[in-house]
């Protein structure tokens, strides 16, 4: 691709991720992809489809079935000149790698006083909404976001999937890249370029004046849909898409909330001690006197993710978001 010229293609999020991996591997020989079933199979979500065929099985390869080993090997490869990208097949299957992630991936730069850094990406398909059985629908972003030393990002659109994954691979720090499973098949025109808002930047997806919905990953479309419905009912909702959980874009989020004076955080994971808690706490701290009502939270309940037949109760939906908006003490004004 010649400089300045950027291709556009209509892609699903899974395809956009695939293109990001592909383009990063073309651009830089040190980029590698490995994990379980990412080779011949192309990943259970086909995100790595075709990479082994094109780049050979030293650049994209299957490993033994052991997540701690996968992340640990990535640490070593990142220490030694590579930029590994690894896949945890489903969110809950990242837990065996937890020690490696928390004690090494997150800490290596710090413990070596900056001498060793780990340019690596851990891809984590997360969230529910696809009728998955137990252990296939966890939302673990809070565990990673609470761990200093990690970047944690999550795209809500195919375009962001491309941009953020390229940025994650280019980052000299480890990035936990949370992929909202239920959006893998969402489709849009994608600009295959590496500029656009990077890690650390939230964007306002929809302007609005009455209240602000703060969402990330799988709940962004829910928030947008809620804003659509609210608009029909005469209420103007603004929607902020975080994109990056760590670093957190206080500026964009707080400006948005101050502009409306009311806010609801929408997230899929269990609410207790979660990213949603953090958003409420930090935005309240910064915008207290602009707030007409306490910031609302629509999150998953504090229960293990339920079986498919029951998951619609657990997932934040448009109705629940609108209820939370209704609860923002409008009569107080």
């Amino acid at each position: 691709m010649s400089a300045g010229q950027i291709d556009h293609e209509k892609l699903t999020m899974a395809q956009a991720l695939n293109r990001a991996l592909h383009d990063a591997m073309v651009a830089d020989d040190s980029v590698l992809m490995f994990g379980e079933d990412v080779g011949a199979l192309g990943g259970v979500f086909r995100v790595t489809d075709g990479l082994t065929a094109q780049f050979g099985d030293t650049r994209c390869f299957d490993t033994p079935l052991a997540e701690s080993g996968i992340v640990g090997m990535a640490v070593g490869m990142a220490m030694n000149g590579m930029r590994p990208v690894v896949e945890m097949q489903f969110d809950a299957f990242g837990y065996p790698a937890f020690e490696q992630i928390v004690s090494h991936v997150a800490k290596m730069r710090n413990r070596t006083r900056g001498r060793v850094h780990l340019p690596m990406v851990i891809r984590v398909p997360f969230g529910g909404g696809i009728g998955g059985v137990e252990h296939h629908c966890d939302s673990s972003e809070a565990y990673y976001a609470h761990t200093p030393g990690l970047h944690v990002v999550t795209p809500a659109t195919p375009s962001d999937a491309y941009t953020l994954l390229r940025a994650a691979i280019a980052s000299d720090d480890p990035v936990v890249f949370m992929e909202p499973k239920k959006l893998y098949w969402s489709k849009e025109e994608v600009a295959l370029g590496t500029d656009g808002p990077g890690i650390g930047t939230a964007v306002v997806r929809r302007e609005g004046t009455d209240a602000t919905l703060i969402a990330y990953g799988p709940t962004v479309p829910v928030a947008l849909e809620a804003a659509d419905v609210a608009a029909q009912e005469g209420r103007s909702l603004q929607v902020v898409d975080l994109r990056s959980i760590v670093p957190f874009d206080d500026e964009t989020v707080c400006a948005a909330v101050r502009s409306t004076g009311r806010a609801v955080v929408v997230a899929e994971s269990a609410g207790f001690a979660s990213v949603a808690s953090e958003i409420v706490a930090r935005v309240t701290q910064r915008c207290f006197h602009s707030l007409a009502a306490p910031i609302g939270r629509v999150t998953g309940f504090d229960i293990p993710f339920p079986p498919p037949k029951l998951e619609h109760f657990q997932l934040p939906g448009v109705d629940r978001v609108l209820d939370a908006v209704d609860d923002l003490q409008w009569e107080d004004q």
């Binding site: 379980e36 079933d37 080779g39 011949a40 199979l41 192309g42 259970v44 299957d62 490993t63 033994p64 079935l65 052991a66 701690s68 080993g69 809950a92 299957f93 837990y95 065996p96 009728g131 059985v133 137990e134 252990h135 296939h136 207790f272 309940f301 504090d302 229960i303 293990p304 339920p306 079986p307 498919p308 037949k309 029951l310 109760f313 657990q314 109705d319 629940r320 209820d323």
Partner: protein
């Protein structure tokens, strides 16, 4: 311990086999150390293999009809699962994986209940304490330390329980496999670790899983005897696992058995196996089918009458009908269940959340 003592922990070069693919009795390959199971046991195994195969067929059909969300078939591995269940006694525990529906059924769990999870409903359709079958486990190898704990608890109370812990070839790569085997060995816990090596972990072939001569060669590194068995020969599976269970019960500590078998179908219906293996490879295993092999053997010895055959088919028919009936019943999702089982008593937080859902539901009803 002398060198000989150590060497006896190594498995035979070839998997132990008692009945050949053509149905004839094998000599050699270590099989001579094991007796052929009794005629009655073989005939019983035959019937159960027929029923097991039918369960796989029926479950696949239910997936196609949209009654089951997903099914990891054990087609081709039925001898392993029937064998693993049949060598246990009352009070013994079985720890199955997601692929071990047949093994659970063979231990007395209603297959409708086992399949509940795969229908999209609650995991534990069955009460694990009724049959001593643990809830089937998805996170690979994580059930193995549980099996050790159950065995060690029983041991501490002086009970003679044996625990059969199942895993796939892929599962042996996880840290928990290692830790469980080691704990069992150190505490001499009566656990039989039974690996169904079906050559694949989803798409990943065995060669990417291990560079060892066999997975049973791992035993010696824990001081545990490792044995290899032809997993498509139910006679050999019964003999080798039966021996392992007996040794564990006698206090000889944990045993490791690897069955060589093959996953004849895709990982689940959601998988596309043509992406990673050739049809010719699959075809080469058809001749080694556990069911036809046993059938040939029994027919060869004149043990299999048309009556037995019909009886087995009837049992399979009845089971299949029962499964269809059970799974065609619609599940009424009840939101209260979300909050009922998280703790013995819901926390105040969960009570609030449950009230919210109840309120939503009542508004919906009112809104209709």
């Amino acid at each position: 311990m002398t060198s000989e003592d150590v060497l006896r922990l190594l498995p035979t070069d070839d998997p132990i086999r008692l009945i050949d693919a053509d149905g004839s009795r094998v000599d050699g390959s270590g099989g001579d150390r094991y007796e052929l199971p009794s005629d009655a046991d073989l005939l019983h195994a035959y019937e159960r293999l027929v029923v097991a195969r039918r369960l796989n067929d029926q479950a696949n059909a239910l997936v196609r009809q949209g009654r089951l969300a997903v099914y990891p078939s054990s087609h081709g591995q039925e001898a392993c699962q029937v064998g693993a269940a049949h060598v246990l006694q009352k009070g013994d525990w079985l720890f199955p994986t997601y692929r071990d529906t047949v093994a659970a059924m063979e231990r007395g769990v209603d297959p409708v209940d086992v399949l509940t999870l795969l229908k999209g409903d609650w995991h534990s359709g069955y009460d694990p304490y009724e049959t001593q079958v643990a809830p089937a486990t998805t996170p690979l190898a994580t059930q193995l330390p549980h099996a050790v704990g159950v065995a060690h608890a029983a041991q501490l109370r002086g009970e003679s329980t044996v625990v059969m812990a199942l895993t796939g070839d892929g599962g042996t790569s996880e840290g928990d496999f290692h830790e469980a085997l080691n704990f069992a060995a150190v505490f001499k816990a009566p656990v039989v670790f039974f690996i169904q090596n079906n050559e694949y972990a989803i798409s990943v072939p065995l060669a990417r899983q291990s560079a060892a001569r066999s997975l049973a060669h791992k035993g010696i590194g824990y001081g545990v005897p490792g044995r290899r068995v032809d997993g498509n020969d139910v006679a050999a599976v019964l003999a080798v696992l039966g021996d392992a269970v007996e040794r564990a019960r006698r206090g000889e500590g944990p045993q490791l058995v690897e069955a060589h078998t093959y996953r004849m179908q895709a990982h689940t219906n959601a998988d596309d196996a043509t992406r990673y293996r050739l049809d010719t490879e699959v075809a080469s295993w058809v001749d080694r089918d556990p069911l036809t092999r046993l059938e040939k053997h029994l027919r060869g010895r004149g043990l299999l009458t048309d009556e037995t055959h019909e009886q087995a088919t009837a049992a399979a028919d009845a089971m299949a009908q029962h499964v269809r009936d059970g799974l065609n019943r619609d599940i009424e999702p009840d939101a209260r269940e979300l909050f009922a089982h998280v703790y013995a008593e819901p926390t105040p937080q969960l009570r609030e959340q449950a009230a919210q859902v109840a309120e939503e539901a009542s508004r919906e009803v009112a809104g209709r």
